[in-house]
């Protein structure tokens, strides 16, 4: 079976600026796929090309195996949840939800029934006759979702749909969205610049930066085995340590750490200067550890503590510890020995 969406060497230029440089991606049917990246990296542009609002400058987009270049937006079985929802202000909530079905020629009774069911699904049945302006932001967001799902698209595009909501609502909607995707079996392509959102909902994540794809993988893949400095830094928190690769075996490298300790890490690289990424939670104070660092201060995070330390060569190192009464806290100024958990250090490609 063909992938839901195949993006093949797609380039997008706006005049002299290149928004996307040769993007290739394959998104499986029934997948919750997330495009993650900082502002301006081209996420919206990808969605707009899939929806049909922007032509590609080069390359090809296939929907279930079919090249859709020639299809206008209304002929693509793809619906969008817009960032600002774009609910029609002159139509009631139920008319908004039924709009796609009306345009598809579904008769009044059938489309009202289906729209009613969609509103039930997003818990807004009581608001059917209101105008969008009479709803809260969270309610508008759910109407936009119901409206986009009502015509049963094969692919749903969501452009930062949660960004206008407050934290509590955002967290609740993450779970609802994921549930909805599983219940409907529709392929979701979700755009966000919030890495936590991406990690909690997605089957797979594509990390983008400056119009380029950086890495594609499951949340675990990109968090635990980031390919490059950008991904390691953008997803979660990490320590980036300058190291020298000294010896290479079949699938591992021996690196010299700042301060002199040595460590064997998975992956190979050319000998010389490289960057090592280690997550703060995978470092532990341990008298036998290979890293020696002076504690500068302790940042209190509630369930966790951050130990802000500095290595002999001057680079900073953050160690995350569980906040438990059992372990005594080291004092600022103390020199700690720090161990790296087995397999926690990643050698980055750049």
């Amino acid at each position: 079976m063909a992938a839901a969406i195949e993006i093949i060497e797609v380039v997008k230029r706006f005049g002299a600026t290149t928004a996307l440089e040769s993007l290739t991606l394959s998104i499986a049917d029934n997948e919750f796929f997330t495009l993650l990246g900082p502002s301006g990296c081209g996420k919206t542009t990808v969605l707009r090309m899939i929806a049909g609002f922007e032509p590609v400058s080069a390359g090809e987009i296939r929907l279930f195996g079919q090249n859709i270049a020639a299809l206008p937006p209304d002929r693509r079985p793809v619906n969008t949840v817009f960032q600002h929802y774009a609910l029609f202000p002159h139509m009631s909530v139920i008319d908004n939800v039924a709009f796609g079905l009306k345009m598809k020629g579904v008769d009044l009774a059938a489309r009202r029934a289906r729209a009613g069911k969609m509103l039930e699904m997003v818990h807004l049945s009581a608001f059917a006759e209101r105008l969008p302006a009479q709803l809260s932001g969270g309610q508008q967001q759910r109407v936009a979702l119901a409206r986009a799902l009502a015509p049963e698209p094969r692919v749903l595009l969501l452009d930062e749909p949660l960004s206008a909501l407050d934290l509590k609502l955002r967290q609740a909607m993450r779970i609802e969205l994921k549930q909805l995707q599983q219940d409907t079996g529709i392929t979701f392509i979700f755009v966000t610049h919030d890495q936590e959102e991406a990690l909690t909902m997605s089957d797979r994540i594509a990390v983008m930066s400056a119009g380029r794809l950086q890495q594609v993988g499951t949340a675990r893949d990109i968090y635990e085995t980031p390919l490059n400095r950008f991904v390691a830094d953008f997803i979660g928190e990490t320590n980036l340590l300058p190291v020298d690769v000294e010896a290479i075996s079949q699938d591992a490298s021996r690196v010299r750490l700042p301060g002199g300790g040595a460590l064997t890490v998975p992956g190979t690289a050319t000998p010389g200067r490289h960057t090592l990424s280690i997550r703060p939670e995978r470092l532990v104070p341990d008298p036998a550890g290979p890293l020696k660092a002076r504690l500068e201060r302790v940042v209190y995070l509630g369930t966790d503590l951050h130990l802000m330390t500095r290595l002999q060569d001057g680079s900073g190192l953050v160690v995350r510890m569980q906040n438990s009464a059992r372990s005594a806290l080291p004092a600022a100024g103390e020199v700690l020995s720090i161990a790296i958990e087995e397999g926690a250090a990643r050698l980055l490609a750049d």
Partner: protein, 266 residues
Amino acid sequence: MRGVRHYPGFLALTLVCLTVLYAPLLVVTAYSFNGSTSITQWGGFSWRWYADVFTGPESARFGLAARNSLTIAVLAATAATLIATAASLAMVRGGRFRGRTASFALINLPLMVPEIVTAVASLIFFTMVGLRTGYGTILIAHITFCIPFAYLPISARLEGIEPFFEEAARDLYASRFRAFTQVLLPLMAPGVISGWLLAFIISLDDFIITNFVKGAGMETLPTAIFGSVKQGIKPNIMAISTLMLAASAAVVTLSWLINRRGQRSP
């Protein structure tokens, strides 16, 4: 910051302006209810000149002129609104096309050219192409100068509508045409209606151009009033003027209310 009303002489200047602007209107309105046949001597309150407008010796002439004025205003406002709507769509939604700036200037030209010049030019043009002056030439001239008045509120409204509404409609399987009729047009409606009303008033009120292109025997209300006043001002003219003033005020108020309602619910 000090408000404008704190400037010295503000009150006096305001009163002078208001007097110059509105005192004549007040005089005309008041004397339209004058019971005497003199236009300067007050003879007690009466409706007689209003009765005279509808039943007096000049009632047939004014009736015909009023009918011409109304039908021309409705037709001209409608045609101008259609053209102005299409022009707004091209100017606001058409992207950057060659001749965009020139088109903008062309649409608004009638606002810039002195009316008397347009009047003379129109008459010469109609004569040159061999059009007989009359109802038809008045209508053509009115459509032309009404376009910019209809264009202004319509394009202002359209500029305030985010393009994502049309995109959402297209995304939900609406053709270009249905995205326009189902989504964009209803959102534009307040601008279109106030554009129509403005054009209607402008047409109803026009004298100079109409007078040049109307031809013999053809009258609109303003030209009929002018013709009658040339033979001396009679009080019935004040009644007609007051009626026209009331009609204009009603239409302008309506236009304003519609625009305001539209702004509150974008």
